[in-house]
Structures are given as C-alpha cells and as structure tokens.
Amino acid sequence: MSPPQPPRRPRPKLDADNRAFWTGGAEGKLNMMKCGDCGEFTHPPRQICRHCQSENMAAVAVAGTGEIDTFTINYQAWMPGLEVPFVIARVRLDGVPGVVLTTNVVNCDVNDVKFDDKVKVAFDEQDGIWFPVFEKVA
C-alpha cells in the first residue's frame, strides 16, 4: 500500500467578507479589511468596522511583513498523510496594529523558528484559494 497523499488544506467558503483575503495572493497581495473613516483594521474581515461601525470598508494590500508573536511546533498528524512536524504561528503584521494571523511558517527547519523572528508572506495556492503562509526573512 502506498502512503496516503498529504491532505489538502481545509478550505474556507468564500463570501463578501473574506474573498479579498483568501484570493489576494493571485496578485501577490495580502489584503486586509480597513475602515475608510477611522483607519482601523477589522480582522476577521467584515463589512462593518468593529471599531467605529462605519460601512466605508475596503480591502487594502498591506506590507505582508511581520514578526512571530507566538508559535507551536505541531507533531500530531491530525489528518491521514499530514506531514509532521510543522510550525503553526501567530504573526503580528507590520502596519496592521492589533491584528495577528494564524499561519504556517514554511521553508525552514521547525527548530529555527523563534519569538519575534521577522517573516514575510508567501502564498500556497490550492484550487483558487491563496493561503497566506510566512517565511523567515533571511
């Protein structure tokens, strides 16, 4: 028997709130929902600002850089074929105060990930969803 294929990433259902976030990678953009009135970001993204209740919201491309806020090295294969270990992290985004993204830190040894490491976004595309993942900045 051949080993199971690595699983696909669980897919979000696209809607008006989240589409720009999950598809922005097609243009190389990390899009975050920003209020045109108070200037604050709302994440998870919504059509109404969670800070001032304005409906003047738009997805804007942010720098895509940030720092490791915290992380865990995951060793358990939660799905058949899932390759372990791998890093799950929360990344503080530059220029997006108050927001962290849960993500994977990829393309490095799991033991090389440290708190406050600088990272930048990359995209892992699967069937039209562009999953923002992060790499360490050399």
Partner: protein, 389 residues
C-alpha cells in the same frame, strides 16, 4: 421573613466514566440523573427546570448527544424553565444560568447535565458519523487551513508565549499532569482513564502533540454524564443532602477569538467573579480548574488572583502547594487529564463532593467550606464560587 432566592447545589450524580462505552448516551444521562435525585432526596416530579451546555450537537453527536428537549421528554419533566445553549460563556455557565433562573423565581429544582460520548462515537462511526464538511466556516476558517485543527495547537501558542515571557518550563507545566495522576489514582470513577502512576521521566519522554504539550498535557475523550441539581433556598427543606451555595458566578469574553485575543477569557472572568462576592482568594479551600490542556489551570490560578500574572507556573512548581494536603488542592479528583473529559461539569461535581467531605480517599483535610470551579479556556471561561454555609 423574605424568600431565600439563593441557589444551592443540592444533588450531584455521575454515570460510569469510560472509554468506548456501549451504554447509550441517554442511558448514561439516566444513570447520572437518578444518582443525583437519590443524592438530593428528590423525585422527578419535583424537578421544574433543565439546563445543559451546549445543547444537542447535531453535526457532531459524540460531543453532545443528548439535548435538553429530549431529557424533558424522556423523563416527563414539567419544566417551567429550560436552557440548552452553546453561546454562553462556557460549560459551567449552564449551572450559572440555572442559578439565575432560581434567583428570578422561574424554577425551584433544576437538573443541569452534560453528557459526553466522544470516545464511543469515534469507535462507532457508522452510528455516529464524524463531522465532514466541504468547507470550514465560522472561526475555524482562520485556523483549520493551517492544520491548526485541535485546540492543542491554539492553546499551545498561549502556553509557548508564557514560556517565552515568564520563563515557564516543561517541568513546571508537568505538575498539572502529575497532580492529576496522583489524585485520579484515588478516584474510583477514574479507573478507566488513569491506571498507573506517572513519573516526571514518563512525562518528559512522552510523545509531543503540539509544543509545549505532550500527550499527558491533554485530556482524554471519555463517555459519561454528569448531573448537578440546583435548588432554591426556600426549597431546601425538600432535600436531604448538605446544600452547597452558588455564592457567585462569572463568565466573560472580550473578544471571541482563539488568536486575536491577547489574553484568554479567563483573565477577564477572574476579577469579575471576585467583584460579585465578599469572599477573597484566601478564603478558598480547594480549586477545581478546567484542564482540557495543562496550561489552563496555570492561567486560572493567575486569572483568579491566587498569584500574579506570569507566576502560575512557579505556584505549582514541585507540586506541593496544589497537592491534596497542600495550601490550595487542585483538581482533587484528577481533573479531565486524570479522570476523563467530562467537559466542565466534573469540576463542579468534585467541588461539591469535597465541600461535603465525601471525597473518600482523596478528601482534602480540614473542614473545607469554599471552592472555585471553572470551565473553559481560550475565548470560553466560566467560574463558580461554591460555599458551604
């Protein structure tokens, strides 16, 4: 004389706790209800309220296979008040809601129950189909795409941050599991879950799940029903058990999020609990803290002011202060790590046993009068302050 609208725990019951049990979920629920009624000296026709968390979980039956409506129907309860809700602060909020219903005069004797069947359900997938969805929706869309599928991955990140900021070590974290193991070995109802002593060497050699958590830092799926009966103060002459007053309850979340919130909801809930009572942390004789993962009790110690924030791991270091004969006995029945994932209600059950002096081989010494029971972690948090007057 005014009415006594205080709320009291007057009966507790629990089914067998097992792994892959074959008795039905309603059968287990019946076992727990009957034990609690006998404990209280009440009969079904005196019950006029029913509460549970989170209500029947239709998409994933093992998580919550029995709903409030079904219990009302099965046992012929003439319910003047009932609630089976998921969007409340956490598991024990079902008991807090019952207390509120008592305060308001909506009911006199409320059965609060939580039935779990995850181990059995996983072993019988044809009968209990696992959750399969084409898409991840709701909050899980922000975590599951990164294979952060278990709460171990979400909570592990809070625990890792504690290590980084405050210097928590795995040896300190281990005290939660070692304490749970010692206490569970004295708990007859934990025998299906904990069978042999755990050493620090065993702990350090265990396989990792999601750092810093190893296998022993995680609670274990089990099958069980737990029942807490809450009664009105002016109905106490109808019950025979020693009543334990629900002196205060709290549950608070500032952001319902497993990642955007810098602090888990426990940290807002702890001060909220003390704001509602004249009791102080120094009055507490035992704490029963939710331990779905071993970091949670450490966070509850800090959140409830038993130590400063960032000191919880030092509080439990070496395990003596939280042992059965220590200054603040923790999870005296083994918690969920040692005695099974009863999903919150086990902590209230154990607190009441201890306050009544019915802990058997695990009874804490002295004359305990005040306990705190909590449930939840991450964006879920509820705390009950229980007192024997």
């Amino acid at each position: 004389m005014g009415q006594n609208t205080e709320a009291y725990v007057t009966g507790i019951g629990q089914s067998e706790v097992g792994v892959r049990l074959t008795r039905s979920p309603m059968g287990l629920t019946k076992d727990a209800i009957m034990e609690a009624l006998a404990d209280a000296g009440l009969t079904l026709d005196q019950i006029d309220g029913v509460a549970s968390y989170p209500g029947k979980s239709h998409g994933y039956l093992g998580f919550s296979p029995v709903g409030v409506d079904e219990v009302i129907e099965q046992f012929g309860i003439k319910a003047r008040w009932h609630s089976g809700a998921a969007e409340i602060p956490a598991q024990l909020s079902a008991i807090a809601s019952a207390a509120d219903a008592i305060h308001a005069g909506h009911a006199r004797h409320v059965i609060c129950f939580r039935t779990v069947y995850e181990a059995a359900a996983m072993s019988r997938p044809e009968e209990f189909p696992p959750l399969r969805r084409e898409h991840v929706e709701g909050y899980s869309q922000w975590t599951a795409p990164y294979f952060a599928i278990s709460a171990a991955c979400w909570v592990g990140q809070y625990a890792m941050r504690h290590m980084h900021r405050y210097g928590m070590t795995r040896e300190q974290l281990a005290q939660v599991a070692l304490n749970a193991n010692r206490n569970a070995l004295r708990n007859p109802r934990a025998r299906a879950i904990t069978k042999k002593p755990l050493t620090m060497d065993d702990y350090m050699a265990a396989r990792m799940i999601s750092s810093p958590f190893c296998l022993y830092d995680c609670d274990r799926f089990s099958d069980c029903s737990t029942v807490i009966i809450v009664s009105a103060g002016d109905a106490l002459d109808e019950v025979k058990a020693t009543p334990v007053r629900i002196a205060a309850s709290a549950g608070r979340v500032d952001r319902w999020s497993w990642d955007q919130a810098e602090w888990m909801a426990s940290y807002a809930t702890g001060p909220e609990l003390w704001a509602k009572t004249d009791y102080k942390p120094k009055d507490v004789d035992t704490v029963q803290f939710y331990d779905g993962f071993a970091f949670f009790p450490i966070s509850w110690l800090e959140a409830l002011g038993f130590c400063e924030i960032g000191e919880g791991h030092r509080f439990i270091e070496g395990g003596t202060r939280i042992a059965l004969d220590g200054e603040l006995p923790l999870n005296t029945g083994g918690g969920q790590i040692g005695a099974g994932r009863l999903h919150g209600f086990g902590f209230a059950h154990e607190a009441v046993l201890q306050l009544r002096g019915q802990g058997g081989e695990r009874q804490i010494p002295g004359d305990p009068k005040v306990a705190v029971a909590t449930s939840g972690g991450g964006p879920l948090a509820a705390a009950l302050l229980l007192a024997r007057d």
